[in-house]
């Protein structure tokens, strides 16, 4: 906090020159300088908070004419690099709150500081160009190519066209899309791809803060799930500060560092997902989270590593199909994970595949199914449960960062988790009886 102070020490009044000359002039001078010194100290303190807090809400309210308060006396601070999710029932003011940050809606009372600067004193156009914005309906401009869409803000900021193109390519590679998409139009892309571009567009000018208004709401559940995972990874990598509006609690829990739960324009609870799940502030929060989700949270079960079966049944690609079916029979399983000699996960086979293809093929490598959903070690159990249930999977292999197979989570493991959550914590109840 004191790293700004050396500036003040260099002030003439604090050097020996000033002290040695004790004429009345100097005293007057000193008295005059005092307020300035105080001011400098205050500025330094403010700079200190800037380092920490990107965004500060102070008594912010929004009152529409002749209506109740849409947003009522908001006070909170958002740190740099935080992923904040605003959530609440419709009409709770979450979207209004978000839109006040880039002045699409202007607060009636109170002030919002971005990097310590009052946003109402900034030019709205300049302000908005520093803040990424992703809307629900994706909002790609249909008459512009993907490249033009991505590099829109750089274009407004008058970057050179080479730099714009370079940036667009770089961003596309972030979401594993090839540069030949650059010259396509939005209507040639799937919904998921379009929203990826929508997100990239908000990152284009390297804005430190990004506002997202239910960005994945219009997508189908599976695309949404994979986009959430992808986006969370991206955010960690790029260290962006995100303010994200949603009404989907699963989404909030999966993405947020901290969740702001709102009701009737007020903040009901502002905390980490774990804290909210463990200690909901009141009945409203409890109800909003839902009983099921509350019961899913086991403080002692956090990641898949803790519940997975560390020794899944595997085969190598050069094993014959007859051999494979023998292994299945011995081990009483209906599918086998295929790994290479370095224990890298290649794919899987199951008895259906063998049954269909056994007349045409003899080795596993000829019939192996390479498309499969897997999770990395360290993934939270609750996210994995969501995925297994949503996609109707029978099991999920767990791999490490190098794609080496380390275990498997099956539905049987999930039964253990649920059993635990129903009976495991029941000691106190049993004692009470």
């Amino acid at each position: 906090m004191f790293r700004h102070f050396p500036n003040n020490l260099t002030h003439p009044c604090l050097t020996h020159n000033c002290v040695s000359d004790y004429s009345s002039n100097a005293i007057v001078h000193k008295l005059l300088i005092l307020p300035k010194l105080l001011y400098n100290i205050i500025i330094s303190l403010k700079n200190y908070t800037e380092v920490f807090f990107l965004l500060t809400f102070e008594h912010v309210s929004k009152i529409y004419k002749g209506q109740k308060r849409a947003v009522d006396d908001l006070n909170f601070q958002i740190e740099k690099g935080e992923f904040i999710v605003l959530i609440g029932p419709s009409g709770c003011g979450k979207t209004t709150t978000m839109k006040m940050i880039n002045r699409l809606i202007e607060p009636t009372e109170g002030t919002i500081f971005l990097n310590g600067e009052n946003i109402m004193h900034m030019d709205p156009v300049k302000l908005r160009r520093q803040i990424g914005y992703v809307i629900q309906q994706i909002g790609l401009f249909p008459h512009m190519t993907i490249e033009q869409n991505i590099s829109l803000v750089p274009r407004l900021l008058k970057w050179s066209s080479d730099k714009q193109k370079e940036r667009a390519k770089e961003l596309l590679s972030l979401v594993d899309m090839t540069p030949d998409y650059l010259n396509r139009y939005p209507n040639e892309l799937s919904g998921g791809q379009q929203q990826r571009i929508g997100v990239l567009r908000a990152l284009a000018a390297d804005q430190p803060l990004i506002l997202m208004d239910e960005p994945f709401g219009a997508l189908d559940p599976i695309t949404r799930d994979s986009l959430q995972t992808e986006f969370k990874k991206l955010q960690r990598k790029l260290k962006k500060t995100i303010v994200f509006v949603t009404h989907d609690m699963d989404e909030a829990i999966k993405l947020a560092d901290r969740i702001v739960i709102m009701k009737d324009g007020r903040v009901v609870q502002f905390d980490t997902p774990d804290e909210i799940l463990r200690n909901p502030a009141n009945e409203f929060v409890e109800e909003f989270i839902g009983k099921e989700r509350l019961s899913q949270v086991r403080p002692h079960i956090q990641t898949v590593d803790q519940i997975m079966n560390p020794a899944p049944v595997t085969v190598t690609p050069n094993v014959s199909l007859t051999e494979a079916i023998k292994i299945m029979k011995q081990r009483r399983v209906d599918s086998l994970l295929v790994v290479d000699q370095n224990n890298m996960l290649v794919g899987y086979i199951d008895f259906e595949i063998i049954d269909q293809k056994r007349s045409k093929a003899s080795k596993i490598e000829e019939v192996i199914e390479k498309e499969l959903f897997k999770v990395e070690t360290g993934t939270l159990v609750r996210d994995t449960i969501q995925t297994i249930l949503k996609r109707g999977l029978k099991y999920v292999p767990v791999v490490d960062a190098e794609n080496r197979l380390v275990g498997i989570v099956t539905r049987t493991n999930l039964v253990d988790v649920v059993y635990d959550s129903i009976w495991g914590d029941g000691d106190s109840e049993i004692k009470a009886q």
Partner: protein, 216 residues
């Protein structure tokens, strides 16, 4: 038929001159119309309250018979080319203005919001988003106005502006059907060709990403 060939052998060159006059009058009028009506249409979308009033006023203006307008301009501007062009210009305003207004008003609200949210100034929004997206609608207004104008330009000859209308009026006065045909056929052809041509232009100026014919 023989009459017509005779007519062409005598008046061939003159026919070309008259056709040129006709094109010239219509083009100047439509050109002025575009210059005035498109910006005005954009402007109207910024003040929706006044917009309805002005569009209503122009609608009323449109119902005044064209002959009457031409006649009204005689005391003001005299006769000849200028009053004819002014009258035709007034007629071209309405279709272009209305289509510009509707085209821009109907640009999707979420695109506008995306534009504002990303920090576009009002002018950037008009230039980069609203006009490109409204282009098909604006162009069809221009196309409609041009075809109308080519038809109405025949009346211009009545106040001495020349054009193919000269033949039609002479034919009517002298009771010579070949003169009427010599005026009417080129006008019709001109209108049809212009319509086809502007149809092509319409597709051509429509940004690629929003062309409807595109197979997706």
């Amino acid at each position: 038929m023989v009459n017509l060939l005779d007519f062409l052998s005598v008046n061939g060159i003159e026919l070309i001159v008259k056709t040129w006059e006709h094109i010239y009058i219509s083009l100047i009028a439509i050109f002025l119309g575009i210059i005035v009506a498109v910006p005005l249409g954009v402007l109207l979308t910024r003040v929706p309250k006044i917009a309805n009033f002005i569009l209503g006023l122009l609608n009323v203006l449109q119902t005044i018979p064209s002959f009457a307008i031409l006649a009204l301009f005689i005391p003001l501007l005299g006769i000849g080319l200028v009053p004819a062009i002014v009258a035709l210009f007034l007629y071209s305003l309405m279709p272009i203005l209305r289509n510009t207004y509707i085209g821009i008003r109907d640009v999707k609200k979420d695109l506008i919001e995306a534009g504002i949210g990303m920090g576009m100034t009002e002018w950037e929004r008009i230039r980069l988003v609203e006009i490109p997206l409204a282009t098909p609608v604006i162009m069809s207004g221009i196309r409609l106005a041009t075809v109308f104008l080519i038809g109405w330009a025949t009346l211009a000859s009545y106040i001495g502006a020349g054009g193919l209308g000269d033949y039609i009026f002479s034919g009517m006065n002298l009771y010579k059907p070949e003169y009427i045909l010599a005026g009417a056929i080129p006008v019709t052809l001109l209108a049809l060709v212009t319509d086809l041509f502007l149809g092509k232009v319409e597709t051509w100026v429509t940004p690629k990403g929003i062309r409807k014919s595109k197979a997706v």
